[in-house]
Amino acid sequence: MDRSTRERQWNSSEARLRGLLMAGLAGDEGAYLSFLRELSGHLRAFFRHRVAGMPSDVEDLVQETLLAIHNQRHSYDAGQPLTAWLHAIAKYKIVDLYRFRSSHGAVTASIDDVEAVLAFQDWDAEDARIDVEGMLATLPDHFRLPIVLVKLQGLSVREAAEATGMSESAVKVGVHRGLKRLAAWITEGK
C-alpha cells in the first residue's frame, strides 16, 4: 500500500471510528459495539506486526487494550484526534508489557508511528491466554453479580438491582469498579 492510499484509509477509519465512539459515549450501544469490533481488528494487526512472541501474546494484548480503552473511554477528549488517543494507549500497553513484566520478547517494528494503529485490520483471532471468565468468577459478589447480570445476561440496571437487592447506583459502581479490577489483575498478573 503506498503512502497516499494508506493516508486515505487512515482518514476514513479515523472519521468513522470517531463517529461510532461519540455515538457510543452518548448512549448508543450498537455504535459502541461496532466501534469496539472494528478496533479489535485494528489492534490485532498493530500488535501482530510489532510484538514477537506467541500468537496468544497478541490476543492477550488485544483484550487487555480493549478493556483499558473501555475503562478509560471518558479520557478521550472530543477535540483530539481519535488516532492519537488510541495509539497512545496501544503503545503504552506494548511498553508496559516489556518494561514491567518478565516478558521475553521484543518489539519488532516501530511503535511510534501514530497512524499505523488504524492502518490495517486483522480478523484472524487466536485464543487468548488470559482467562477473563475465570477471573470474573473470582471477583467478589458486589462486582461479579452486576457484571454477570448487566453485561453478560443483558439485564437493565434496575432489573439487576431488583435481582440482587443492591441499589441501582451500587450496580453501576459495581460494573465499573469490577471491570477496573479485572484490568488491574491482567496488568499485574503477567
Partner: protein, 213 residues
Amino acid sequence: MRTDDLVLMLATGSRHAGGEAFGRRLPVALAAGTGIAVLQMTVFLGIRPDLGSAAAGVDFWIKIAVPCALMAAALGLVLRLGRPGARMGPLPGLAAMPVALLWGLAAVSLFGAEPARWPELLLGETWAVCPFLIAFLAVPMFVSSFWTLRDLAPVRLRLAGAAAGLFSGATGAAVYSLHCPEMAYPFVATWYVLGMLMPVPLGAYLGPRLLRW
C-alpha cells in the same frame, strides 16, 4: 473468553453503567490537598503574626502569586498527562515563566544592593529549614494528586509523576508563604524554588510504580 465475546460484554449495558466523568476526583483532591496543608501550617508553624501589614506590600503578593501561577501550570500538566495522546503544548513554558520572573527580580535586588548584604538577602534567617518545610506542606497534595492521576489514564508515567510532584511543591510553597517571614527576592528565588522542586524527583520515581493501569 474469545475477543468477540469480550467486545460484546464491554458494549452491553454501556449506556447506563459507568458514565464517569474525566477528572471527577479533582475537586476533592484540591480541597483536601490545600486544606490539610493550611491546617498543617497553622498548627505546626503558625501564620506569620504580621500578615496584616505584610499584605499591604506588593512583595508579599508576588511571593504568593509565583507559586500560585506555577500551581496552575502544573495542574494543567497533570491533567494533560492524564489523557492518552494529549499534547503538553505551551504548559512547560508557562510553568517556567513565574520562576524566570522571580529570578529576574532576585537579580535586580542583588545587583542593586551592596555585595556585603548579599548573604543576608540570600540566606535570610530561615534558609536551612525553608525547603524542607515547603516539602512538608506539599505532602497532602502529593498524595491527593497521585490519587487523582490513578483515576486518569497517564501513559508517560514518569513525567506524570513529576508533574504531580511539581504541583504539590507549588502548593506547599503557596501555603508556606502565609507563615514565612522572609521577604527578600533572592531568598525566595533560591529556597522556595528548591522546596517546590523537592517533590519532583520523588514523583518521577513513584510514577511508574504507582500509576500503572
